[in-house]
Each structure stands twice: as C-alpha cells, then as structure tokens.
Subunit: 131 residues, 2 copies
C-alpha cells in the first residue's frame, strides 16, 4: 500500500510510535511498529505494535484486555515517527501501562535529582496478566 | 549524576524523547537525547537534543528562536523513553516544527488511504532560519 511506502522505516524496518489518549491528551506509551503492525492497526482500528523483545506482533491488550481503539494515525515532518490518537479500553480509569498505571510516563524527575513515581497503580499488575 | 545512570541508553547512547506542550497537551515533536543533552536540559530548563544528522548537541531554538521551556522531565516504565512537558516559546501561536507548523505531527492518514497535511503553516519556514 502506497501510504506505507511513504513512512521512513529505520534500518530494522521499524518506526517509533507514540500513543496519546484522545480525550485527555495524555501520552500513554511509546512503542515500535513494523510495516505489518501499522497496516494491521489501520485495518483493524486497534493498536498493533511490534514487540522487539519477543520479536513478534503484539496486539495491545491481547493478554491484559487493555486494547487501544485508534481514532487517528499521524506521521511527523520527517515521516519517521507515528502518533496514534486512541481511546484506552479495558479499565476505567484507563490503564495503558503494564505496571497497572494510567500512563507509562509515571516517573518524574524531582528537584532533588531523583526519579519519583507520581501516578498511582490503578490495577494490580499481577491480576492484569492472569486474565 | 545518579539519575542519569538510571536511564537505559540504547546501543548508541541515546534515548527517544517526546516533547508535549504542557498547556494544550499537544505532542509537538519527537527527538533524541544523549546523556549530555539530558543533563543540559535539566540544568538549563531548556530542551537540548542530540542531532543524529549533525552528530552534535542541538539547543532547540538556537537558529529558529523556537526555544522550549521545560517544566517536567518524565521517564517511562522501561526507563528508556523520556517525556518532556514544555512551553514552546518564540511565536504565538506556538511553532515547534521546522516546517513552520505548531506540531511536527501534521500529517493524518485519511479514509482514502493517503497522508494529508491537516495543520496550517504558521510561519514561513524560510524566515525561521534567516533569524
């Protein structure tokens, strides 16, 4: 498909992807996609990433149930980064992170020069992956 | 500095960075930092990236005047992605992209299977780099 050819895939055939919650504007997570993952995301309307650690397609929510409904697919000026605008399904309030938090970006650098967890755990992460 | 050691730098000593506008929630751009860039960002309160194409530190706004004031530095669950919450200075309405647009993510995949520019050019990009 022509639109997939316009993406500048890196040397590994991947592109970085930012998932942003449409309604809140919160940045939920960051992951990677290959061509097949981006095509599947577009075709299904659900976020499908490429898991670098498992070296396979990762249908977000396949284990946790925390599926992402995709409203918009954006591409940046250099055509090498994708931004998804999503609704994070599966829990209310929404949980995108495997730690059971709303967002993966829960560590904040404090004035004391330390990283602090500033977002609560909403779901016991043990329970997420027993579903 | 200890907090810099907690970041998981990639094989090239870099970490991906998302810049989000604090007040609007808009994702403005995506770039990379090395250790020196992240330390300089923290110390100065202004975004300093690592330019992979120029292989040097890139003080955002050094040519364009479109400096980013950094309010928060966040780190994700895997400690390998940074999120900045910024105020984009230098133009009103704010311009983060070298194309003269508000955000770098101005291309949207349409129902017709084509990428469309959906954000206006706010500043002539020619003029940005003549300052």
């Amino acid at each position: 498909m022509d639109w997939l050819d316009k993406v500048k895939w890196d040397a590994n055939g991947l592109v970085p992807v930012i998932a942003q919650e449409r309604d809140s504007g919160d940045v939920l997570m960051f992951a990677w996609m290959n061509r097949e993952a981006l095509a599947a995301t577009h075709a299904s309307g659900r976020a499908v990433y490429w898991s670098r650690s498992r070296a396979r397609l990762w249908h977000k929510g396949e284990e946790s149930g925390h599926v992402q409904q995709v409203h918009e697919i954006r591409l940046d000026c250099d055509k090498d980064v994708v931004l998804l605008k999503v609704t994070q399904l599966g829990h209310d309030p929404s949980v995108a992170c495997h730690t059971g938090r709303h967002s993966c970006f829960y560590r904040q650098l404090g004035r004391d020069g330390e990283w602090h967890s500033v977002e609560p755990v909403l779901v016991d992460p043990e329970s997420i992956y027993k579903k």
